[in-house]
Symmetry: C2
């Protein structure tokens, strides 16, 4: 019998259509992925081509050249210049598109995806995320910042070099408002943070947990929207990613690498998106907001059901996804 | 300068990133699509293979064999049998997956997509939709019915033969609740149906209108989520698709064919989803619900921005999408 489970954060239902008889192995990428070289002379993000992105905002240097660079996005979806102007005339509600759109070059190595980066490189990337997150929020026009990574064609990018993006929006998305309201209502009803409750519940159940490290826990959500959908939560209650401490980021790097390498070796390097979902820096002390990271490997297509109802269909039980990933052997596991 | 516009139905923002310099022509399918034959002996949906789908629920017969067939979906995402059981234990909110999942075979001709079907065939399909919509709602376990069509790989289907689907869900999706609440609030504030206001506004502006036929108007939404996203609204206020009258469905068939053929010839037969968004039959007389049809050609990928914020990025102004489609010449236009 199929089952519908409610995602308590979005309060949307997910249909688990296990009757379709899919096994985890069915989601291993069918196409052999092209292996890219370590360096591509024409890649604007490879070392030596820094002149192609002169608007550098930040960098971390290593022993031989830079390790991480932050640059302005040449193809920004928002304009860096101008005052924010909002107009509401009848049915037309418009905000001019001012804001910040930066690119984080995660690594100088052209073919390094998160799964195969050294853990200290991932830590540098996460520290850069936090720095930009805090910095972009200082722009008074910015209301909401998202940090995310697209990897591979099905994730919405055509760029091979491993990049992340920071977008500072001039508005708060409705989806974010809905989530915040839901979490607030849960807190009002129970006196507890919904996310803290979910973390405790997952840890005591255990069947969906992937890695329980010092400060973070990664697991397949009880109502995962798709096979191998993963959440990574800080175990310490905190409303904002801006509040993450250096030791915590080191631990997050190791947990994230553990997850990403299982996806990489278990599913033949799937395309993926990951996103940091967080309150503003000023929400750090919120009793009901709790930041986290969500990873969605692009192994299933959305169809008319998702578009027509907002509900997702997941053909794989979260417990099966978790069990499969936990048992993936990783050939070499960086420090 | 980019622009953010609010979709008044979802109350979510869409980023119009016109600075990316995309033209309508950039969304013409790059890959040459394989031309399929009119009949495929191994296709379970082609005439002669009816024995492969014995659970027929409905059919329309023509002069030579059937024109439309409705069958049970062998790979149903919901179970047809069983009582609905809902359990709420702490964080686990579950409904067992009972409901209805049917397939509508839109045409006996293997390679006929909506754009090239005769208008009277589309009318038969729409009448079948309405019949199934009403019928499936009679199941007391069903709370919400969606009718949709997936066409082509990027829409989430691997099946060539033109099919539609009807899903009767045992719950009401949260997204539907949100939309209904929004429309209700607009009605309470203004005394008007939001959709009726939008229709009048689009008709008087005209820049986004595609086809204004007797009973329906098709247009690119002011805050279209992607290039060539189209809405088709009945001009007569009505809360439910169940209430559509035969003459209206004939007109809708002709409006839908006009839109689909512009997409087909203008964008080289893009993959697409279309969905009927409607209140229940019992919502027919609602003052604030107004049913419609939405068409999303799959010409752009979603990325981490959409996943991270719920906001869509549309690189093409709706007015440009509309102008492009209005000017597509259709070689032969069926009656």
């Amino acid at each position: 019998m199929p089952e519908l489970r409610m995602n308590l954060i979005t309060r949307e239902w997910v249909i688990f259509a296990m009757e379709k008889g899919k096994r985890p192995q069915d989601f291993i990428g069918a196409r052999e992925k092209k292996r890219h070289p370590e360096f591509v002379e024409t890649c604007p993000f490879c070392p030596g081509n820094e002149a192609k992105s002169p608007d550098e905002r930040y960098r971390i240097n290593g022993e031989e050249g830079w390790k991480v660079r932050v640059i302005l996005n040449k193809f920004s979806v928002l304009s860096r210049d101008g005052e924010k102007v909002r107009t509401n005339s009848g049915l037309r509600k418009v905000v001019n598109g001012v804001g910040i759109h930066e690119i984080i070059i995660d690594t100088p190595v052209h073919n390094h995806t998160t799964a195969v980066m050294p853990a200290d490189q991932i830590e540098d990337v996460l520290q850069t995320y936090r720095g930009r997150f805090t910095e972009v929020y200082k722009d008074p026009r910015v209301e909401y910042v998202i940090i995310f990574k697209n990897s591979g064609h099905d994730s919405g990018t055509s760029i091979e070099h491993s990049l992340s993006q920071v977008v500072g929006m001039p508005i708060t998305p409705r989806q974010v408002r809905n989530r915040t309201e839901g979490a607030m209502k849960f807190f009002d009803d129970t006196g507890e943070c919904l996310m803290c409750r979910i973390i405790n519940d997952e840890l005591s159940d255990g069947s969906r947990v992937l890695f329980n490290t010092k400060h973070f826990v990664s697991f397949i959500p009880y109502a995962a929207v798709s096979p191998f959908h993963v959440w990574i939560f800080p175990k310490r209650h905190s409303g904002s990613f801006a509040d993450a401490r250096p030791g915590e980021l080191q631990d997050l790097a190791s947990n994230l690498k553990a997850v990403m390498s299982r996806l990489y070796y278990g599913l033949a390097n799937p395309d993926f998106n990951y996103i940091i979902k967080s309150g503003k820096p000023s929400h750090t002390d919120s009793e009901y907001i709790h930041w986290y990271l969500t990873i969605v490997p692009r192994v299933a297509m959305t169809s008319g059901v998702e578009m027509g109802s907002g509900m997702f269909i997941n053909p794989l039980a979260p417990e099966v996804s978790a069990d499969f990933l936990r048992n993936i052997r990783v050939p070499e596991y960086g420090r």
